[in-house]
């Protein structure tokens, strides 16, 4: 492989991994608080369509990102109300959110189909972008790529170095004990759900405004589900989320490069396109194979409703 191909593949891998990092870190935080939100796909779709619409009308991609964030938080709030206030089953409510979000985004997005947004210029970080091989790929990137790195550090700091993060993890491990020592379990879970929604919205916005600056129905293409799988694969640890997201980005990009290279292949393009989905299944199998890996690492109260007694 020559240097320029390596560099452009690395560049593309980082870009493809970025929405996964942002979304999966948001899901990680809400799962750490004990809430399993299967609505990631719907939240991303809402984020993507809202961001596209606002960017198209205002011309400002950052307003778009904000709009995407708030749109996804709004639908996440429905999920929160159902599961936290009304004690609904989290799996069912998450599925409902996915169906609703994908449907509503398709409905809202209809007038925006076949419109393209101008590309948002990358931000070049002086000096280090001149590094050989990796400079251009890592340091001449979209702002949201840098944001995903900042977010990673912020989540690590929050979960493992801050008091609030400790409380959040306590709520996820044992809501009853957290409640007993005076922490507002439901309110903390609401905040965690909203944070997950906000990140899913930014991830969706990245897709429709920065990655492929257009809106197509179904453009999230399972990334919300892949992000959910990534959290399991990462055994609920931020660093592994990051590594996993780039591995997935790599799988997605490799198949695109092979398809785009005009290489004569004995197997069909659809097979290559299905690789990211197979990869998700394979990593789930590898990580879940040992029952204890999941049991020891997943937040104890994950997916279980909680109601304060008395």
């Amino acid at each position: 492989m020559d240097a320029s191909l390596f560099s452009s593949m690395l560049f593309a891998t980082v870009v493809a991994g970025t929405p996964l990092i942002i979304v999966a870190l948001g899901l990680l935080v809400s799962e750490k608080a004990g809430v399993l939100n299967l609505g990631a796909e719907g939240m991303m779709a809402m984020g993507a369509v809202a961001a596209f619409a606002v960017t198209h009308h205002s011309g400002n991609p950052w307003l778009g990102v904000l709009a995407g964030m708030f749109a996804a938080m709004a639908v996440a709030l429905i999920f929160g109300f159902l599961t936290l206030t009304l004690q609904a089953n989290q799996v069912a409510a998450g599925l409902a959110l996915s169906i609703f979000g994908v449907g509503l985004s398709a409905f809202i997005g209809k007038p925006f189909e076949s419109i393209a947004l101008p590309a948002v210029p990358a931000i070049r970080i002086p000096f280090i972008a001149d590094l050989p091989l990796i400079g251009e790929a890592l340091y001449n990137q979209q702002a949201l790529v840098y944001l995903s790195w900042a977010l990673f550090w912020a989540v690590v700091w929050f979960l493992y170095r801050s008091r609030a993060g400790l409380v959040l993890r306590a709520v996820g491990e044992s809501p009853a004990s957290a409640h007993a020592i005076g922490h507002p379990v439901i309110r903390i879970r609401y905040l965690a759900v909203l944070f997950g929604g906000a990140m899913a919205g930014i991830g969706g916005a990245f897709l429709s405004v920065f990655y492929t600056p257009m809106w197509v129905e179904g453009m999230v293409a399972g990334r919300g589900w892949i992000a959910l799988a990534l959290v399991v694969f990462a055994t609920w640890r931020p660093l592994r989320v990051m590594i996993g997201a780039y591995l997935f980005g790599g799988v997605m990009i490799t198949q695109l490069f092979i398809q785009g290279s005009g290489m004569q292949l004995d197997f069909p393009a659809q097979f290559l396109s299905s690789l990211p989905y197979w990869a998700t299944i394979i990593v789930l199998v590898v990580i879940s194979r040992n029952v204890n890996t999941i049991r020891l690492n997943s937040p104890v109260s994950l997916g279980k409703p909680y109601r304060a007694e008395g």
């Binding site: 159902l82 599925l95 609703f100 449907g103 409905f107 069909p268």
Partner: protein, 354 residues
């Protein structure tokens, strides 16, 4: 202040009333949506709920749409009762279309009466085989069946796309991504002259009866219900969890596969790359709204079919995207989950305590 108070016992009445309440709330929300879009809400509801079924043809279209929903939902209900979360019925449905199409194309020249039964079997086997992947990975490797079955939906879609763009493309089809039209012997007979309602509807009704017999009258069905409602009790009684995962997923896959067969051998008459019709996902809602109960599923699938048809109507007459029906489907499930709170809690007035 208003607060929720746990009931001593789950309310049976509420568990039946809750879907009705949810449907009513969806109706109100629907009117609000139409008003917000600047459309007459009464006209919108009329288009959505009444005009699709204003004549015999409309009713037959309703039953036609309800057919795959019933099939997929009854299969899913078997698994859901045991907390086996197969959400990949959409993919199993597509594999069913592939299995059935394979038989239809292979025996294209034949006019044997055995072709249709063979297509049903092939559809069921293909759907079940697709569902066997999450079952195998769950039982052998503990891999989450929700994520695996869902990922396989995307794979199934690509698989169908490869078939109709590649080996199965109709050589006389002007390069469209579709197979040749099926021969008459590979098409399900029409039930009412002049409509598209086909024998798949009878298959679906039979599946509901079979589902009832299995879930409510068989020992295995009983064990699955126990496993769903009290996992610890089931374990203590020595019921095999793995066996339930297999039964849940294979039944769901086979039923969705038959639904796929009834689409290609019914209204489609060929396989195209547009088989991702959303029945598999909508069936999840049907199963919940129908309370995982065969009779409930019958009613819920009619309601959901109406939402599909209504979406087409408002697209045609109000110039709104047909995806509005997905919005209503999602709302319906939201409202159902919200109303379900009253099964276990009651509202009571009490003073706020500090």
């Amino acid at each position: 202040m208003l607060r929720l108070e746990p009931r001593a016992e789950a309310s049976r009445l509420m568990s039946y009333l809750s879907p009705v309440l949810a449907a009513a709330l969806t109706l109100i929300a629907g009117m609000a949506v139409f008003s917000a879009l600047g459309k007459d809400p009464i006209e919108g509801l009329r288009l959505f709920l009444l005009s699709p079924v204003k004549d015999l043809y409309g009713v037959s279209e309703l039953l036609l749409k309800a057919t795959p929903l019933m099939l997929c939902a009854i299969g899913l209900a078997v698994g859901f009762r045991a907390n086996v979360w197969n959400i990949g019925a959409e993919g199993q449905f597509m594999l069913g279309t592939v299995g059935a199409t394979g038989v239809a194309l292979y025996f294209q020249e034949s006019d044997s009466g055995l072709i249709l039964p063979a297509m049903v079997v092939a559809g069921a086997v293909a759907g079940a085989a697709w569902a066997a992947i999450p079952a195998l990975l769950k039982t052998k490797f503990n891999a989450n069946e929700i994520l695996v079955s869902l990922m396989l939906v995307y794979v199934a879609q690509l698989f169908v796309s490869w078939l109709v763009f590649g080996p199965w493309k109709d050589p006389d089809g002007f390069n469209f991504p579709q197979t040749a039209m099926f021969g008459d012997s590979a098409l399900l007979p029409i039930l009412i002259e002049g409509t598209r309602l086909h024998a798949g509807f009878i298959i679906a009704l039979t599946a509901l009866v079979a589902g009832y017999a299995f879930m409510n009258r068989s020992y295995t069905g009983f064990k699955m219900r126990v496993a769903g409602e009290a996992a610890d009790a089931a374990r203590y009684a020595g019921f095999s969890a793995n066996r339930m995962i297999w039964i849940g997923l294979l039944t769901g896959g086979a039923a969705a596969g038959i639904a796929g067969m009834s689409e290609v051998a019914g209204p489609m008459g060929q396989l195209t790359d547009k088989v991702n019709l959303g029945y598999g996902f909508a069936a999840i809602i049907v199963a919940f709204v129908g309370r995982l109960n065969p009779f409930g599923i019958l009613l819920a699938s009619l309601l959901m079919a109406l939402l599909f048809l209504g979406g087409e109507q408002v697209q045609q007459y109000m110039n709104l995207p047909s995806s509005i029906s997905m919005v209503f489907q999602g709302l319906l499930l939201f409202f159902l989950l919200g109303s379900d709170v009253f099964i276990h809690y009651r509202l009571s007035f009490s003073r706020a305590t500090a």
